[in-house]
């Protein structure tokens, strides 16, 4: 139950055929991605905050192409997400409109708009569990009669109602007539479908351009057509119809304020919310820094990998590959103590990185599902406004604590180009990814809580100073916080685990080949003596940082991935202040190669290069100042 996916055609192959296209549309954070996962059997991230889907995702559902459109409150062109959704809807054969049953007044606007446009639709009335919990009632039959299309109650994250939704897709339809027809006389003289006509009447310029660009005049130009300005009139009329529908189908229970509302008030009040947020950070530290990094990693590294795996693989390789003659280089690459492909590399990946990354994904997944992240946005809005951002930018920052590469994509939710640039620069500079942070937490746990707070203070200080610098130097103004607060929910264990497994698989798929290539390259350089030269070349930097020459090798690893650098630090014999300085430096060091590629893609090459060289400069500058300070201790 709960999934009607039938393993079948590849979505790319479907796109090339005349397969039916089903658009999955709805407001942000209503559960579209959860429905998509159930229908297409794929694993799109599902989170309890708006903006999880910032581009359309394509999957396959029973021979049709299923397109998960970005969240939108209406079909129009007010934002990039809406523009993508508009194109998806205009080209779709039918739509599954996912609506939040606790937000009928908000979400039925889009439903009525789809029906006005004549898009065959089936409605998934999602989050019904919360309606029941609130003691509210929705008359589904009455809603179906009001809208004239199938309505299926669902709880997508649990799979409830998904089979019924699959059955209803064949019955998707739209009313033959629409009240918007009363304005059709006002349409310019263009050849438009009903969908396009409605959007043109609502003043959607890109839709008008789409129509007129195909009408080439005799002189080769395109027709200049005036756009009607009936948007307010049509929207007001539709709003009245939505209110009437809600009035007819929805009845409110007598539950009053509940515990969730009380918790919400505490979280949003700076006086109580800030200590609660700090308490949350402390608990995360105890879980990852102590339980996972100190106990599980130690056990895996020393007992399992060091005690059983490394002696076994060493014996196997030595029985096959001699340590002398022509095989000597291969033997060295596979088994050397520095970064042997089958020894230290495996130990780093599976003994250190994987448990920490999985633990962090679990924490981030639970935070995302609970709806706490947007509340953190509200709480941090005032502070973020000092560095040219608003509270929404805290979401890419927290996503960045999972993976900076993904977070660079999610900076799209930060209003303007200026805010995206500032967010990206801060992500690349001062936000460690989960893999790196896990190891950093582990190393800091061994130093003590004082060093942990000192580390946090330095990183936040650099974050603030660089943010203020960018805010004062970049042209333009910042926008205020505009965000919607989803309900606080108990995280669904299944969803959190699924996300963790998906992300961990993604991490391994990316890290294993990259780590293997890096290990081979570094081992070859080591064998030929080039590594020593490169590390010697970095000696002036390590001297300024008060660190041993071997730290140069950590920096070389950091050029590929920052977590490799962090993992490399676990093997160095350093004093407590040196570990502290080293951790700050590798945190502020250049973004990993994949994050750099994403930065160049999302911003531009010039910005990417500035960020890369800027990271070198800031990391070395801050590190050298810290080295001077800790030497006084």
């Amino acid at each position: 139950m709960g999934s009607c996916h039938d393993e079948g055609t590849d979505p790319d192959e479907l796109a090339a055929t005349d397969a039916e296209t089903i658009a999955l549309v709805g407001a942000p954070n209503v559960g579209k991605s959860a429905v998509f996962n159930r229908l297409a059997g794929e694993e799109v991230d599902v989170s309890n905050y708006p903006g999880t889907t910032v581009s359309a995702t394509v999957g396959e559902f029973e021979g049709s192409q299923l397109v998960d459109a970005p969240g939108a409150y209406g079909i129009s062109s007010f934002s990039e997400e809406e523009r993508i959704t508009r194109e998806v809807v205009l080209d779709a054969d039918l739509a599954i409109n996912v609506i939040d049953a606790t937000q009928l007044e908000r979400d039925l606007f889009l439903t009525h708009q789809l029906l006005d446009m004549g898009v065959p639709t089936v409605v998934a009335l999602n989050v019904m569990d919360e309606v029941r919990r609130d003691g509210d009632e929705i008359d589904v039959d009455a809603l179906e009669a009001e809208l004239g299309v199938p309505v299926v109650p669902t709880v997508a994250v649990d799979g409830e109602g998904i089979d019924e939704l699959c059955d209803a897709i064949d019955r998707a339809r739209a009313p033959e007539e629409t009240p918007v027809e009363q304005w059709f006389d006002e349409l310019p003289d263009v050849d438009a479908s009903r969908r396009e006509s409605v959007l043109v009447l609502e003043g959607d310029q890109p839709t008008l351009d789409r129509i007129t660009s195909s009408e080439v005049l005799a002189d080769g130009g395109v027709a200049e057509v005036e756009l009607p300005s009936l948007r307010d009139e049509i929207y007001e009329h539709r709003r009245e119809r939505v209110d009437a529908t809600v009035e007819a189908v929805h009845s409110t229970g007598e539950s009053g304020r509940n515990l969730t509302d009380a918790v919400d008030d505490l979280l949003l009040n700076p006086v109580t919310g800030t200590p609660l947020a700090l308490l949350g950070v402390g608990l995360i530290y105890l879980f990852i820094g102590d339980l996972i990094a100190q106990r599980l990693v130690d056990f895996l590294e020393a007992e399992v990998i060091g005690g059983y795996y490394v002696p076994w693989i060493t014996a196997v390789v030595e029985s096959v590959v001699p340590a002398s003659g022509v095989y000597e280089p291969l033997h060295f690459i596979l088994l050397n103590d520095n970064l042997g492909l089958l020894t230290v590399t495996v130990q780093y990946l599976f003994g250190v990185l994987l448990p920490l990354v999985v633990a962090f994904y679990l924490v981030i997944g639970a935070l995302e599902d609970s709806g706490l992240l947007p509340r953190l946005a509200v709480l941090t809005d005032r502070g973020m406004s000092r560095i040219g951002l608003n509270g929404r930018a805290v979401i890419p920052m927290i996503v960045g604590l999972g993976c900076v590469t993904m977070a660079v994509i999610s900076t799209r939710i930060a209003g303007s180009r200026r805010e995206r640039l500032i967010s990206t620069a801060l992500l690349g500079l001062a936000v460690p990814c989960s893999a790196q942070l896990g190891i950093i937490l582990g190393l800091l746990a061994a130093l003590g809580l004082g060093w942990w707070f000192a580390y946090l203070a330095v990183i936040l200080l650099v974050f603030g100073i660089v943010g203020m610098f960018l805010d004062r130097t970049l042209p333009g103004d910042s926008q205020g916080l505009v965000t919607e607060l989803p309900r606080i929910r108990r995280p669904h264990a299944g969803n959190v685990l699924q996300k963790t497994v998906t992300r961990a698989k993604g991490f391994l798929a990316e890290a294993i080949p990259l780590f293997a290539v890096t290990a081979v390259l570094i081992s070859v350089m080591d064998y030929l003596g080039y590594l020593a030269s490169l590390v010697r070349g970095l000696r002036p930097a390590t001297v300024v940082l008060g660190l041993p020459a071997e730290f140069g090798q950590v920096l070389v690893l950091g050029l590929v991935r920052r977590d490799f650098a962090a993992a490399g630090m676990t093997d160095l014999a350093l004093t407590t202040p040196q570990i502290f300085v080293g951790l700050v430096v590798i945190t502020l060091f250049v973004p990993c190669v994949l994050a750099m590629a994403m930065i160049v893609k999302e911003r531009d090459l010039k910005s990417g290069l500035l960020m890369w060289f800027g990271s070198w400069a800031v990391a070395l500058l801050v590190g050298s100042v810290l080295a001077a300070v800790v030497s006084l201790l």
């Binding site: 409150y73 209406g74 934002s79 908000r106 606007f109 307010d232 709003r239 209110d243």
Partner: protein
Amino acid sequence: MKCPTCEYELDPLEHEKCPRCGSLLSCSALDCGSCDACAGSFASLGRGLFSRSKDD
């Protein structure tokens, strides 16, 4: 101003709630930073008092 929920551009003087997403546009639901309905501090004070007394 832009609706705080759906970012629909609207005139707060003409609407009690956003025509698109239905969000309430009273002074209790909005802060002055996201609304440009009032010409000055006195207008803001008067509107705030009126709006809050109406909501209560």
